[in-house]
Symmetry: C2
Subunit: 206 residues, 2 copies
Amino acid sequence: MGDMKTTIKSVSIDLFFEKGYFATSISDIARGSGIQKASIYYHYASKADLLFRIMSATMDDLTTTLKERLAAAGGIEVQMRAAVRGHVCFHLERQKENFIANSELRGLSAEHYRAIVRKRDEYESIFQQLIHQGTVAGVFADVDVKILSYAILTLCTAGATWYNPNGRLTVDEIADIYENFIISGLKQGCLTPLPAAEKGIFNGTQ
Amino acid sequence: MGDMKTTIKSVSIDLFFEKGYFATSISDIARGSGIQKASIYYHYASKADLLFRIMSATMDDLTTTLKERLAAAGGIEVQMRAAVRGHVCFHLERQKENFIANSELRGLSAEHYRAIVRKRDEYESIFQQLIHQGTVAGVFADVDVKILSYAILTLCTAGATWYNPNGRLTVDEIADIYENFIISGLKQGCLTPLPAAEKGIFNGTQ
DNA sequence: GTCTATACGTAGATAGAC
DNA sequence: GTCTATCTACGTATAGAC
């Protein structure tokens, strides 16, 4: 946090989150950082460069966190719970960067855009593998993998839009709610009974 | 579609969706409409005025659609299914306007912002009432009404981000998937057994 | 209703002194 | 590393002719 390069990045995150990338000017960032706007260009090549570095670091950390959590979890349901919890917590704890990473893709150049989308796709594919394995194993209902992965991820990601750090619930409490909601949605226990062989018993409903 | 005022609005929806509100200039809109940029101001007071009219009309239509669907449905689960289906279909069928309405709030003036948020709150409260009624009646598990309403709405809304009209699935197929996922998530049949008095039987799982 | 012309501000970025 | 000064381009919006 000490050096100016870090300060500029930190100020940019705050401003991009509050006002949006396009509405934030280099002058705004300079003012927030306590320097003249020309000095920004000593540390960063352009405004788009700043945006890309923020997004790129966020995506890298997100995937690293997920892989760590999955390595420590065994069994498909437990892994999916860990993945969902990790996704929610990461997005709420680093709300601003995640909000930016999900809403300012249009500020990127073509190459940078591709780089970020590649990272996002890699992250999504981990969730898709988990869902696929769960359906094959009969732990989850026979759901559409692609649509459900988008649903689960955007659902949790949206938390970064409305989350209030001073609000009624803690990050862990919100993660609990999402975890149960999503696992129930994947199992669909009250809608379609799972094969008797898998569950041992039929679900009474329906 | 015949008059210039409608053309300008339609072109603006396309451009705001593709490039974003801030990245779209009045010159872009004029070029797309086949007139000079000064002529835009004969029809609309400002760029922000255009944005507000697009958002406002979209929100009004959204709420009207929901109320119509609910009036035709009986029973809490059936009503929730109708509400979810309506929300999904509206967002996919009018993808561009809905994407704009959910991502460009920062382009609005303070008063216009308040007006749109008021409309959104009214819409959300209908969902919150449904969830609350469902939990009281025991049709749904004892879930957190606020968080679940945000979850359900943002989940479906996000469809407008990734939906491809030429993609693998139809709007109705996607609506089916979302409906089952959400109803399962609200019932949580495979996680927490509902009160025996309400269901008549216990759910076998757990 | 649509045009041409233009006012006026501010944007991102660079040059070169210190 | 940070500054002052400046370039160049483009933004929204208006004035006034037709």
